[in-house]
């Protein structure tokens, strides 16, 4: 497939930060010199062995990489079809894949002499990861979080505060991830000299989508090696959940030129992808537009006003998607589907009961799609899904939906 089209799906973005027509640098002039500096610094670091040596050391000794590739035996048996593997990124320090990227960006920030780190967060996992790495390096950390998310992700808010970060509840808009990103950008425009904006997903102006992808690609690189070791061949299908799309891009990227590997991204279908827009499925239910520095698929009305998404999962509650996913969607290299809140909750419970793993609500979406397709596939079909986060942070939300009273 790859040879027929472009030689490779792994060459993007171009020098203007474009993946096809998606991506770019749609930011105000005040920020333009900053992102050009960042791009130059990242280009230098990319080929600097000492940068990667520092990353490898921290990944191994601080994060606990490589994360295992785990054969989910009982789930496989229960579904009665394809052989299911989980890439266990929920076992990372801080409980999710987010820290893979944060380490990279914070090391860059230190190289650039920045002393104040800002971040946006939805579910709180990126905020916790940023607060963690800032604590480790003694950097000032400010996390913007939608007021609505502050409420539904209380444990993570407390974690960030324990780690010394300042959490600023964002009340503009509907108080979710998109609004937190707006306020982080407003902070950055105001504090340009000393501040580094640590973006948590594969979105934003170039070079963020490519840079975050590169840092997260450790997931796919490891999965590939581990699968070769376990099965002597590549997986047949890889599956990951998508909000902005960083865990998915991290798993997908190293497999893009492996023609035999089917790639599936799972968006948050909320209450169902319908005209009421009670979902966050930008690719399935949106159209191309420009927001937060890049062109991508967005949930928007006829007048180009951005709509608030809806999902049980705070980490998927974003009306856009990383531009590389938008491109992979349009060129047909990856498939994108959606899973409803209800289906994700069922997968969440099944995973707890059969595998003794409490998954986050985000990968529960990926798992729900595995549950749909695995029974239809032969037993020698290998699936690798990204278990990108653990569910401790979600137990209150899940309890509420299951009608369980958490007051003891």
């Amino acid at each position: 497939m790859a040879n027929d089209l472009f030689n490779s799906f792994m060459r993007g973005p171009d020098e203007n930060g474009r993946f096809g027509d998606f991506g770019g640098r749609f930011v105000s002039e005040t920020l333009m010199p900053l992102i050009l500096d960042l791009e130059a610094e990242y280009e230098k670091a990319k080929t600097d062995a000492s940068f990667w040596a520092e990353m490898d050391d921290l990944w191994a000794n601080y994060v606990g990489r490589p994360s295992p590739l785990y054969h989910a035996e009982r789930l496989t048996e229960h579904l009665g079809g394809a052989k299911i593997y989980m890439k266990r990124d929920e076992l990372n320090h801080t409980g999710a894949h987010k820290i893979n990227n944060v380490l990279g960006q914070i090391i860059l920030a230190r190289r650039m002499g920045k002393t104040r780190i800002i971040a946006e967060t939805g579910a709180g996992q990126h905020g916790v990861a940023t607060a963690t790495v800032c604590a480790k390096f003694g950097l000032k950390c400010i996390v913007y979080m939608g007021a609505h998310d502050v409420e539904r992700q209380a444990p993570n808010v407390f974690r960030m505060r324990l780690l010394g970060a300042t959490v600023i509840p964002v009340t503009s808009g509907r108080g979710t991830l998109k609004d937190a990103m707006n306020d982080a950008l407003r902070d950055w425009v105001t504090n340009v000299r000393d501040t580094f904006y640590c973006i948590g997903t594969v979105a934003g102006p170039h070079p963020y989508p490519a840079m975050v992808r590169d840092f997260q690609s450790i997931i796919g690189k490891e999965a590939k090696e581990q699968m070769m070791k376990a099965e002597g061949r590549l997986p047949d299908t890889i599956i990951a959940a998508i909000g902005g799309g960083s865990n998915a891009m991290g798993l997908f990227f190293p497999f893009l030129d492996d023609e035999s590997v089917r790639i599936i991204g799972v968006e948050a279908g909320g209450k169902g992808v319908n005209e009421k827009m009670e979902h966050c499925a930008s690719l399935t239910g949106g159209r191309p537009g420009v927001l937060h520095g890049n062109r991508t698929y967005l949930l928007q009305d006829d007048d180009g006003q951005i709509l608030e998404g809806f999902s049980i999962s705070a980490g998927l509650d974003y009306p856009g998607i990383g531009p590389e996913h938008a491109w992979l969607h349009d060129v047909g290299r990856a498939e994108y589907v959606s899973i409803t809140d209800k289906e994700a909750l069922e997968a969440f419970q099944l995973c707890c009961e059969l595998e003794g793993i409490i998954p986050a609500l985000e990968p529960s979406h990926a798992l729900a799609h595995v549950m749909k397709i695995a029974p239809t596939l032969p037993k020698d079909h290998l699936i690798c899904m990204n278990m990108c986060g653990r569910g401790d942070k979600d137990i209150f939300t899940v309890a509420k939906h299951l009608g369980f009273d958490m007051k003891i």
Binding site: F26, S28, M32, S172, L291, I306
Partner: protein
């Protein structure tokens, strides 16, 4: 030559500074907003900056954010903002109108369709915050071909090396953002702004107008004295937010315009 070029040529010939007023289209509602806009020329406004509301105004402070939300809640659309310009043009064919906002509503309408409609409505220029020179192919160049000015923002982070890039393809005037930050935030300081404006003027013949952080007639005067003019937005929008009468709002605008014109 657009109405903007004509206006600044006239101001220059008269040795006067310009005053630019920003209001959000459709704030607090369509009718009131139109009444305010129609009253701006008589209040001494040389150029009208008409905001196009957007749900995610990343470079704006709370005042302009809320103005956009009010307008959207009242059903303002890009079409209605264009309609305001058409209405203004029925009685006023001289005062330049610059539409200011973010790219997505324009992109969503379709760049070519938007440009045809804007030109036909009587718009003279565009300021689109999230389109830096790196994205000139999107709207800037098509707009210039259509005979609309594309007004670029220069900021305190725009260094000497970058300035020529910012000035290329800019027309009408250069909008110097006096502070690093969002609209309506810190106060602009003439001592900081003056040398920056002088540096820009050394590289271009276009008028340089200063905005962000100018809130009073005195500030409008001080800042205009070190540039070719001053922009006030949030301070006017705040009065609209308070529900002041159109007459009171226009009286305040006149005091700002008088301040700038004293410079």
């Amino acid at each position: 030559m657009t109405r903007i070029d004509a206006k600044f040529a006239k101001l220059k010939a008269e040795g006067r500074k310009g005053f630019v007023a920003y209001v959000m289209g459709g704030d607090p509602d369509y009718e009131t907003s139109l009444e305010i806009v129609k009253g701006l020329p008589a209040a001494g406004v040389d150029v009208i900056e008409l905001g196009m509301p957007f749900t995610d105004p990343m470079a704006d402070g709370p005042t302009i954010q809320l103005a956009g939300q009010r307008a959207l809640a009242q059903g303002q659309t890009l079409e209605k903002t264009l309609q305001m310009v058409r209405e203004l043009r029925k009685d006023d064919n001289e005062t330049p109108v610059v539409m200011m906002g973010y790219y997505n509503p324009i992109y969503s309408r379709g760049v070519d369709k938007f440009l045809v409609d804007a030109k036909e409505a009587g718009v003279d220029g565009l300021i689109v915050v999230d389109l830096p020179p790196e994205e000139d192919g999107e709207l800037c160049i098509p707009a210039q071909k259509m005979g609309l000015n594309f007004i670029r923002l220069a900021t305190p982070t725009t260094d000497d090396k970058r300035l020529p890039k910012v000035l290329t393809n800019t027309s009408g005037f250069v909008y110097y953002v006096s502070i690093t930050g969002i609209t309506g935030a810190a106060n602009a300081v003439a001592g900081d702004v003056g040398p920056e404006v002088a540096q820009i003027k050394a590289k271009t013949d276009l008028p340089v107008i200063v905005g962000f952080g100018i809130k009073t007639p005195e500030a409008a005067q001080t800042i205009a004295s070190v540039a070719d003019g001053a922009v006030v937005g949030s301070a006017i929008v705040e009065r609209i937010a308070k529900g002041e009468s159109v007459a009171d709002i226009l009286a305040f605008v006149k005091s700002l315009a008088d301040g700038a014109h004293r410079a």
